[in-house]
Amino acid sequence: MNTPPAFSFLVCLRLLLAVLPLPGQNLLKHDHQLSSPLTSNLRLKEGLWLLDNNIDPYTGGSFHHSPLLLSVFSTIVPPLPIIWAISDAVGAWALLRIWRARQGLLSQKGTRSNVENLITSVYLLNPYLLLPSLALSTSTFENTLILLALMFASQGKVSSALLAIAFAVHLTPSSILLLLPIFMVLVSSPVSHLASPRPFHGNLKRIPFLFGEFTLYWLVLVGAACIITGGSWSWVRASWGATLTLPDLTPNPGPWWYFFTEMFDHFRPFFLMVFSVLRSTLSYTYYPICIKFQHDPLYAAFLLTGVLGTFKAYLTLADPGLFLSMISIFPEVHGYLRHPIITTLLHLHAALLLPLQHVLWVSEGRGNANFYYAASLVMGMAGGAGLVDACWAGMRIAVGMQKRLRKM
């Protein structure tokens, strides 16, 4: 396929970053904003060491990665930085293809290369995505899988899309939020209908079959994971259970960790349930978003990445990063964002405050945990503001169009 010039250039640059020995990479690896206990490279390496020494990595309570990652990195390739660079490149490529599918462009025609340059740069140069990737956090793979699932879905490739989302759900169970929008994209089309809302058209009867196929892939992956771990189920509790029971209270930019650090012991199970329910299946934004944006399921998927990027249990900057980078493939809504400047400033504020307060608290010993918590609240505000922006714009655009139509 032909790619915009920026793509090749930036991918080369990214590969170079992976190969060159960077100063301070060790600091990045330990940074709590860039990798959570669930995605940390240090823990991945520890898991590989334990596996090499015939110790079950999941007993110790410090390893939460999926067995699939463990087997890939222990048998196929060692965890080299170049793999993260390639994953980034694939992610950018997938984002580009989603955009083309949405615009109805055929891949041969290399028109509008300015927008494509922008999309690639926004993905590959987004610090929220680049830094976690340099820190070798496995959230890079999760993002790439989500983008691949959306790409295959918008190209109408059913099996590939379902396999990709099954992988993503296996790595992070909370990405199951994206399942319904992906089904909807598969049975309708990814083309933008934001400006002309209409009831959902598409064959709803196919959805049960799609769900069946997804379940099949997912079960195969679960089975594979069980075989890898030698028939034991301890990995389920250690990797998936971690997002539900929050055993590790390492700080992250999300709202969960301090809430449960400060929670009274006897209320902990109750609030864990409340938070999980809020975030996942019965999430207050899940069905409403899918219903409201039934005319444009890809946009619904985009909004749900925003929900994930704000409310994940173990949030890293890569999660809001995916949401922010995906804005670039919806150029039609850019003019209608509600308060883009405030959102940008909130993100800037959070991005500067988080590392600062973290260092002050943990390294310098001059601040305390409340300062970092305040910064994570700002991060939550920024995520929420971004979500409101995108939601507003997605609906406001229709009104603008109606008005213009009426005037004609």
Binding site: G60, Y258, C391
Partner: protein, 537 residues
């Protein structure tokens, strides 16, 4: 004195049933040694032997136990041992860091800082080993007024290689070890009082009369130990020991290292304990001729001066034993560099500038001209995660992974109520002659819930010291005639990142506000109906 003996004899006559089949022997001993840095090491040991007795078979725990009659053996301890069917028990309560380099190996090997408890128990279907372990530590914490109850599953491990059975192995069932240590435990008078109560003469007579809490707990290093060992040919042996390292240079006005019993303990022995079959004070005579010891005519054996105090001997109790250096005006500390007395010197630290991670580094120096193989045991509470993939073994900053062998690592294992047992790292180190082996690995410090922090959270957490132990001769014939039991490194203090302790309500309120704010805005948007209004002008 003679009247006491008569009473004891009469007492023996009155309890014929018991005296017939079970002999009890009580021996006491005090060993005093001047150290090269001017300090004085004193070791009391009080041994009671129940001849012919054997530990309770745990399989018979459901049945009625035989009645317990003891004349000298402490009943309170005997009841605990029978109740939980303990085969071997070791409890030590120590304060301070034992300075191996200057003081040599201690007379009693267990000098780990804080409380350390380990017990060997037979397995049984009646009650599990863990249930009995829990009962044992609660019973002992009641008996010795120590916080042994907190030696729960978060601190319990089973390092069988480093802590083998000291006595014989009973044949009735396979045996299991439970070991736990609490480095933050303080040792004080309240522990000494119950300790003295276990002695047949309490502190009224015999060597125990010297144990003056005000002096013992003023010592630079002090600790007590309770050891119950079963030996097949003798029986159950209870050894109560108390070690203290005094510093006469610090306490004497002239900065002299002279000592005498009166100055060390501020007490003297008025009478000997009538039931003791042997009672002796052994003074290890320092090298050189410039010291004097009074009274002068004790039995000299291999540089030891032995004073027999037992009632059977015709030796009169010396009112005071003193050692002095007449030609020395004031004590001069030996000038550095000092060569360590022990063949092995160990240093262990955690360094790093942040509260979230650090590097655990252990350096082991072999001071002898022979190669030494030594076992290395690390028992780390789960709040510290060892990153095993960062383990490095170096000599002179050269990686020498071949010197660390037989590596066994048990990550923390989950216990009931979401707690984790400590992680255990065990390896064999081979240290070349006159070389320093450096082991380093990165560690992570956990972020704990605010309820899990102790009331003085800013003080930090005490981590137990590492243990170096000799390898059994059969498996490693490289180890020389160098005879020792165990080396404990000092406890470490780590500061963990702390949350704010006054914030629970604020955090609940602020976090929930954020949630509702986002929810409210999105709900508002999604449920709003959008209509275009024409405004008539």
């Amino acid at each position: 004195m003679r009247r006491a003996s008569v009473w004891i004899f009469l007492a023996y006559l009155c309890t014929p049933s018991f005296a017939l089949y079970r002999e009890e022997i009580y021996k006491e001993d005090l060993r005093i040694q001047s150290l090269r840095d001017g300090r004085v090491s004193t070791t009391f040991s009080f041994v009671t032997v129940l001849e012919g007795a054997s530990p309770r078979n745990p399989k018979a725990l459901g049945q009625r136990d035989e009645s317990q009659h003891y004349a000298l053996f402490p009943l309170t301890l005997g009841q605990i041992l029978r109740e939980y069917a303990i085969t071997e028990l070791h409890l030590t309560l120590n304060a301070g860091k034992w300075n191996y380099d200057n003081w040599g190996h201690p007379h009693e090997a267990e000098v780990g800082t804080g409380a350390e408890l380990w017990a060997w128990m037979g397995a049984s279907e009646v009650t599990t080993v863990d249930e009995r372990w829990s009962g044992l530590r609660n019973a002992l914490s009641g008996l010795f007024c120590a916080s042994l109850g907190s030696l729960d599953s978060r601190r319990t491990l089973s390092p069988t290689v480093a802590f083998p059975l000291s006595g014989s192995t009973p044949t009735f069932s396979p045996h299991e070890l439970r070991h736990a240590s609490l480095p933050s435990e303080n040792v004080c008078t309240e522990n000494l009082t119950p300790f003295l109560k276990l002695l047949p003469c309490k502190s009224h007579a015999g060597l125990a009369a010297l144990l003056n809490p005000q002096k013992v707990f003023d010592a630079d290093w002090h600790g007590m130990g309770i050891h119950v060992i079963w030996k097949e040919d003798t029986g159950i042996e209870l050894k109560l020991s108390l070690q203290a390292v005094f510093n006469p240079v610090r306490t004497s006005p002239g900065k002299r290292r002279d000592w005498n019993l009166q100055s060390l303990f501020d007490r003297s022995i008025e009478r000997s304990c009538p039931v003791a079959s042997s009672s002796a004070i052994t003074v290890v005579l320092p090298e050189g001729k410039d010291h004097k010891i009074t009274p002068e005519n004790p039995a000299h054996v291999d540089g030891l001066a032995i004073y027999d105090l037992s009632s059977s001997s015709n030796f009169t109790i010396p009112s005071n034993i003193a050692m002095y250096w007449p030609s020395e005006h004031s004590f001069q500390y030996p000038l550095p560099p000092l060569t360590p007395i022990t063949p092995l010197s160990v240093k262990r630290t955690i360094h790093g500038t942040t509260q979230t991670r650090g590097v655990l580094s252990v350096s082991v120096t072999n001071n002898s001209p022979q190669e030494i193989s030594v076992g290395y045991l690390e028992m780390m509470p789960a709040l510290i995660t060892l990153w095993m993939h960062t383990l490095k073994v170096k000599i002179n900053s050269q990686i020498r992974s071949d010197l660390l062998s037989e590596l066994k690592y048990h990550p923390p294992s989950p216990q009931s109520n979401d707690r984790f047992s400590p992680s255990m790292l065990q390896a064999v180190l081979t240290i070349p002659p006159n070389a320093t082996l450096k082991i380093s690995m990165e560690v992570n410090k956990a972020f704990l819930k605010y309820t899990e922090h102790p009331p003085d959270a800013m003080r930090g957490w005490d981590l137990p010291g590492a243990v170096f132990f000799p390898l059994s001769q059969s498996s490693h014939n490289t180890s020389s005639s160098y005879d020792w039991e165990r080396i404990y490194t000092p406890a470490l203090l780590v500061d963990l990142p702390t949350p704010d302790f006054s914030m629970p309500y604020n955090v609940i309120i602020l976090s929930c506000t954020l949630m509702t704010l986002i929810f409210g805005s999105i709900f508002n948007l999604l449920t709003r109906k959008w209509v275009v209004m024409e405004i008539q002008e």
